[in-house]
């Protein structure tokens, strides 16, 4: 079950990279434009641009738990164990910074247009 989910993410990452090469764009971590993968103590992509009204999902693929906490207190995921995910809907345009409260060097940004 876990392995299957993991594999699907890996496939998604692979497809994303291939797509990025063909499109000549920056390498994307996933094909899903609203998904952030948490892996190897990093948020990937570190910066994600979405349209207002989008729901962004963070998926923890590390063996270590992580959290997704807004710098302004707008959202707080609580502890995400391996394979747990957290979603938040961004209604208003703006720049939203977040970090992991367990590993504060892990930071990221959501830009809502």
């Amino acid at each position: 079950m876990i392995l299957a989910r993991y594999r699907s993410i890996l496939v998604a990452v692979g497809v994303g990279l291939m797509y990025a090469v063909h499109a000549g764009a920056l390498p994307a971590a996933t094909t899903d434009p609203t998904k952030i993968v948490v892996k190897d103590f990093m948020f990937t992509p570190m910066s994600l641009t979405v349209k207002a009204g989008s729901t962004v999902t963070w998926a923890n693929m590390d063996e270590e738990p992580h959290t997704v906490v807004s710098n302004t207190g707008l959202f707080h995921s609580g502890a995400l164990d391996t394979n747990d995910s957290f979603s938040f809907k961004f209604d208003k345009p703006g720049t939203y910074q977040f970090s992991c409260s367990i590993h504060p060097r892990m930071v990221g940004t959501i830009i809502v247009q």
């Binding site: 190897d40 103590f41 990093m42 590390d62 063996e63 270590e64 738990p65 959290t67 710098n71 707080h76 609580g78 502890a79 164990d81 391996t82 910074q97 977040f98 970090s99 409260s101 367990i102 590993h103 504060p104 060097r105 930071v107």
Partner: protein
């Protein structure tokens, strides 16, 4: 080192590893630590009596709720730690837990940990939270169970046998991208707490994250710890303890001795090895030699505080 083919029981293998020198005893004289192999110290009974009365034991990073490959049985290794403590011929007066009691701050994890702690023979337990204990937005779960000593602030002090203990919290005010933080309110409290105390009072300060920078890229340090150190330097004997990094690192700075503790749950890599401080997977017979407890004794002279590390094998 035991040959895998000759190892018939895990316990015997672990004993063998323990005597291979996993434990270290630290003797402090004139402000300088002398590390002594635990097996050597145990064999030298006359030397062991010089350690004096056991005052407190430190355990750390029990991570109840962790169930990954690095140690699928963290309850078992905590139980072994408790059994080891309970088997000590003379019970220390206090137990200090330097945080990460739980892995995910879940109520069931805290409940199980508390239930396990009731088996301890030690009468008094003192805790500080780790960042794994405070992942719920309101930190309700930790404070509901362990907040009484500090009126839900997390930091507090107490005295025992002439030693002044200061419990600090450096996991609640993370600046993104930064190190642990004590914060101005807590630092003012420490200043007031230490004011007027005799410089000859032995001081023990404990927090979850290191109060000295061990490795900044992984956040192994506390950004405003220097303001604390300024308050501590006038004292003749200061012992600063923490957990968080799941391995022993130490240093001496004047009269201040810094010492990190092992975890009872799983080891972590040395600073900078790998992408981050993830659970370190080692073979089963190696695991218990990388977990452990720290006990501190007060010898006759208050300045001769001695730290002794024991692995749970």
């Amino acid at each position: 080192m035991a040959d895998d083919q000759t190892v018939h029981s895990r316990r015997n293998a672990l004993k063998c590893m323990a005597f291979g020198g996993a434990g270290t005893l630290f003797a402090l004289a004139g402000g300088i630590f002398t590390p002594i192999d635990l097996a050597v110290a145990a064999a030298d009974k006359a030397g062991a009596t010089r350690l004096g009365k056991p005052l407190f034991v430190q355990i750390s990073d029990t991570h109840i709720g962790f169930n990954k490959e690095a140690n699928p049985d963290v309850n078992g290794t905590l139980d072994q730690t408790i059994a080891l403590l309970n088997g000590m011929p003379e019970q220390p007066a206090l137990l200090i837990h330097t945080g990460d009691i739980t892995h995910l701050s879940k109520p069931a994890e805290f409940d199980l940990a508390q239930q396990m702690f009731t088996r301890l023979r030690v009468n008094e337990m003192h805790t500080v939270p780790g960042e794994h204990d405070t992942t719920d937005a309101t930190v309700t779960e930790y404070f509901n169970r362990f907040g009484k000593a500090s009126n839900n602030k997390g930091y507090y002090s107490f005295d025992h046998a002439g030693v002044h203990f200061v419990a600090l919290v450096n996991v609640l005010q993370f600046k993104p991208g930064g190190l642990g933080t004590l914060g101005p309110e807590q630092l003012s409290w420490v200043t007031a707490d230490l004011k007027g105390r005799s410089a000859s009072t032995p001081i023990v300060v404990f927090a979850h994250m290191p109060l000295w920078t061990i490795y900044e890229p992984w956040g192994w340090g506390t950004g405003d710890a220097e303001q604390l150190m300024m308050q501590l330097r006038r004292f003749g004997s200061v012992t600063v303890l923490n957990g968080h990094i799941h391995q022993i690192v130490q240093k001496v700075e004047g009269n201040v001795t810094f010492h990190t503790a092992r975890s009872t749950a799983y080891p972590q890599p040395a600073a900078g090895v790998g992408p981050g401080p993830a659970p370190l997977k080692v073979s089963a017979d190696q695991l218990l030699t990388m977990l452990g407890i720290t006990s501190v004794s007060v010898a006759k002279h208050p300045r001769s505080m001695v730290l002794s590390d024991t692995t749970i094998a």
